[in-house]
Symmetry: C3
Subunit: 208 residues, 3 copies
């Protein structure tokens, strides 16, 4: 656990937590929440996906609360947004979208990997990878009393799903686990970025 | 686990999953969700009740994700509704209601049974049977940002509660477990069907 | 577990459950729910915080469903409100607020204590104490399809947080666990009551 790749993974994981927490804090401000609401939404957006996955696979207490690190990173992001909101509101939207896509790919892959380690069926591991990626945003929207965006619009969960499936497929084809993970993360990231750029949406019943 | 009654139980359980998933998919279309939202609502409506029960009694990972079967059935129902929506929209409402009542009875009884196996107090087992029956619909409504129907109208949860209580009562009276289960399921099913037919509702404070 | 202080704790715990359940039932009536909805909201408001805490720390089945006691107290409170609503609607609001503040302090302290017993990091124990105090009200508001009050207004979660942190701080300073608990509970209770009296709110971004 303490070797170089694992340290890198932890760093990347904390970076993803930071980005998702920034977005949660921004959503909290848009929803007129107070400072406590902002802390909660940052934490939930960044960490609820992983917490749900860990409860479902039986890794309790969930990684997100086994150390003080994740909560601290989430609350630091929340406080940053609270203090520097005018500055952060000027960050171009596309750069946040790109960071978010990177976080999504990372969370989906990490979630799939962990589900496999806990001996879940590969098909279920794909679903749990997707939950890890999109669970936080879903709970955030529920707390804001809105129908979760991920269920209504955009190629977002689908990108997570495709990334996780690619990773599993690459492993089945005999690629090693690192290559499979990078491949899956890249598919998720690119599908998300291209879909925003091209305004792709999933089909709905009744849409023309 | 591989003997005949158990195979029958699994088949009936998957049938209940299919019916509830159909209803989740229909609700997703009514709520203007996209194809991913439809998959999620089918899964959640069919399986969230059992997942909550399993998390509470400590049977982790929950049965619903221990094999690929339940998710596959739920997604198959979702895809069927997506592709054949116009056909399915013509199915008479009463037939869906009857199928749903059967699913409710089945889930409530199976949930109560499992809670007893995990040594829960009989009174708590009744509550967990009810959660198994109505939990999926409750989470579905929360995701659609609506107050869950089950809390507002109809004799629905009450039917599940009455069925579970009947089953427990029959056991206390010394009936064997199969007879008790059939009796409980029948009470739930009949109470639900008759209550829809007769437009029964539970009392509210302030209602005339 | 059967000695005098523990009996006292159980009694106080059940009293807190009763007060929170009363409030859940009142919210259910305001939300036009039926009698089943009233039972659910009473249970959830009183017990969901502790259930979430127990799932997260791995104490399964959660204390709230390990005996028939908590559910019975919650349902008794619900039935009382249902039958005597006009009487209860006349109870002065301030007295309910004071009882609620006492319940909040109790739940926050008990939650923090339990998290420490389960070897959680002190910082995480503070968060879990807060979840124990405010989780029930949060789930209640989600079921009513409203943005949880605790995220929007009032010094409520903050009081729980301050009480839990005080308790942890007092222990670090070497005070014994009973004194620390009483101190923490008092801080939570007083901060809540004074903040209502003085109309304190947390800052929001964009507020003048």
């Amino acid at each position: 656990m303490a070797n170089a790749p694992s340290k890198l993974l932890t760093a990347v994981d904390l970076a993803g937590t930071f980005v998702f927490a920034l977005e949660g804090a921004t959503a909290a401000i848009a929803g007129n929440l107070d400072f406590f609401g902002l802390l909660v939404l940052s934490f939930v957006t960044a960490l609820a996906g992983g917490v749900i996955r860990d409860l479902l696979i039986g890794d309790v207490p969930p990684a997100a609360i086994r150390t003080w690190r994740y909560a601290t990173v989430a609350f630091f992001a929340a406080t940053t947004v609270f203090l520097l909101y005018r500055l952060i509101a000027q960050v171009p939207l596309w750069s946040i979208m790109v960071l978010d896509a990177a976080g999504l790919g990372l969370f989906a892959i990490a979630g799939t990997e962990k589900a496999l380690e806990f001996h879940m069926h590969p098909f279920i591991a794909i679903l749990l990878g997707t939950v890890t990626g999109v669970g936080g945003g879903t709970v955030r929207d529920v707390l804001l009393a809105q129908v979760p965006t991920v269920l209504r619009a955009d190629v977002y969960a689908t990108a997570a799903l495709a990334g996780s499936a690619t990773m599993i497929g690459a492993r089945k084809l005999g690629l090693n686990s690192t290559v499979s993970a990078v491949l899956g993360g890249a598919v998720c990231f690119l599908l998300r970025v291209v879909s925003v750029w091209q305004h792709w949406n999933l089909p709905k019943v009744g849409s023309p």
